[in-house]
């Protein structure tokens, strides 16, 4: 039997939890479930939805645009992820030394992180202008004729990757810096007594002890890069000649341009599945290369 005390406790818990939980259910929980259900229907929001079984998924499987978007998304990830991680790690390693103006440098690298993607994409669209852009002007100073960037199907994705690396370096760097600061100094001191040189210290201490951070950075950057959208939408809208269409753009187009709610939902679940599989594989592999210390 629940006594007076129990009822009171339940009331207290409800007051604390319910505002958040109700909203969470309405805007996150139920939408996740409905999206899954929707993915087995056909619905244009005008007539009533009809159940079509797996047909959306089968259609997606035969949809050339979908495969092209998947390919471009993967191209983006392959170009973006190693670049942003390598540059951020290098800068974090330098900033972790005794450096003057540390706060200034960290702030400078972080400015693009807080700037909206729309603003960044517009600035870079102008920088990458084939004729009057600053990037090609800079290249011409060192004797290189720059490409037409966003107007050239084989360079447009490179332009988007460059811009994305530029925007995210500060964010990833801050994560690496936090990881580096968590490595106790005593490890390095002990290694020095044993006569270890700089490279040995980097390979034997820094990299292994940083591996949990590296893993975390890898997981969240990968999840985020599967969802690349804003920059593509502003910089190329998927062009030229469809060379930069990405998955989220497909979802957006089907849902909000062609009113195919079911089809778009199915595509969003494929995106979720990809994110899930990749995260799952990384979780499984982490034990092999991550050193959580003792």
């Amino acid at each position: 039997m629940v006594g007076d005390k129990g009822v009171k406790k339940l009331l207290i818990i409800s007051i604390f939890l319910l505002p958040n939980m109700l909203g969470f259910m309405v805007f996150i929980g139920i939408p996740i479930i409905s999206s899954f259900v929707l993915s087995f229907t056909e619905w244009d929001l005008i007539s009533s939805p009809s159940f079509v079984g797996l047909s959306n998924y089968i259609q997606l499987f035969h949809d050339d645009n979908f495969w092209a978007a998947l390919k471009h998304t993967l191209t983006f990830i392959v170009g973006y992820l190693p670049t942003v991680m390598a540059i951020s790690l290098a800068i974090a390693l330098i900033l972790n030394q005794k450096i003057k103006f540390k706060v200034f440098f960290r702030a400078a690298y972080f400015i693009p992180v807080v700037t909206s993607w729309v603003a960044v994409a517009l600035i870079w669209k102008w920088l990458l202008n084939p004729t009057y852009g600053l990037v090609n002007y800079g290249l011409s100073l060192v004797g290189v004729t720059g490409p037409a960037w966003l107007q050239d199907p084989s360079w447009a994705m490179v332009g988007i990757i460059l811009t994305s690396v530029w925007k995210d370096v500060g964010f990833v760097m801050v994560l690496f810096l936090a990881g580096l600061q968590g490595i106790p100094n005593s490890y390095y001191e002990a290694a020095e007594i044993d006569g270890a040189n700089r490279f040995q210290k980097f390979w034997k201490i820094t990299l292994p002890l940083l591996s949990p951070t590296t893993f975390f950075v890898l997981v969240i950057s990968l999840i985020n890069s599967f969802q690349v959208f804003d920059q593509v939408m502003i910089m190329t809208q998927g062009g030229p000649a469809g060379s930069t269409t990405v998955l989220v753009q497909q979802i957006y187009n089907h849902a909000f341009r062609y009113n195919q709610m079911g089809y778009a939902s199915a595509a969003s679940w494929i995106l979720f599945a990809l994110v899930f599989i990749v995260t799952f594989i990384q979780m499984r592999l982490q034990k092999r290369w991550i050193d959580y210390g003792q």
Partner: protein, 277 residues
Amino acid sequence: MDNSISQTVRKTLFYSVLVFGALIMIIPFLWMITTSLKTRGATLVLPPQFIPDEINFANYQRVAEVFPVGRFFLNSLFVALTSTIGQIITASMAAYAFARIEFKGREVIFLIYLATLMVPTQVTMIPQFILMKYLGWLESYRGLIVPGIFNAFGTFLLRQFFLTIPKSLEEAAFIDGASHFRVYRQIIMPLAKPALATLSVFAFMQSWNSYLWPLIIVSEKAKMTLPLGLSLLQGRWTTDWNLMMAGVVISVIPVLAVYLFAQKYLIQGITLSGLKE
């Protein structure tokens, strides 16, 4: 001797890399500003002029004439502030329950929250849109604000912080007959100020910079936020970069101001949320 030379070489190399990198980060913003002060003709000159011959602010005036940038700005501010406040209140209360009150099923509910962190927003976006449509919340502030209040991230971040506050503090208060509401308001919340500040900065920036959600639910200029309004500039002036950059400057300056004030909390928050689990 040898050591100090290699030390100097290394330091020089480090500073060169940092300065070069910082220039790459800052020049695009300077370029944005100088472009916004040029005439259209001056943007189409080779070699590019860093400091225009003739500085004019007319671009800002023209952008403001055609686009209600003031309105966009106020919309963004209103939406970002209200959704941040909503998130702080609801998330902190839930986090208090998760961290400080023992009850059956607590861990399970919290795990469900956590699991949703993995679901891409694109999955919830379509049903959310349909919901907005049926509630009649399209083209409204409610539609822009309310869904943004709820996500697992804020609750998670605050719960982790609340867990680090020693229990002994509130035990004394309970003995004195304080209620959970008093402990929440007078002990936990004041102690959690750094975490609350962090979450506020995060929530504000996220809302301020958000593009996809406003794009989906708003098409009237009167309700547009800055990023969405800015994307419209592009359709109108494809080659008038001086005008476009003036619009971009207007949207970038406020958030940079917030950033410079709140830098500490933002970076603290990234490290907190990222690495302590």
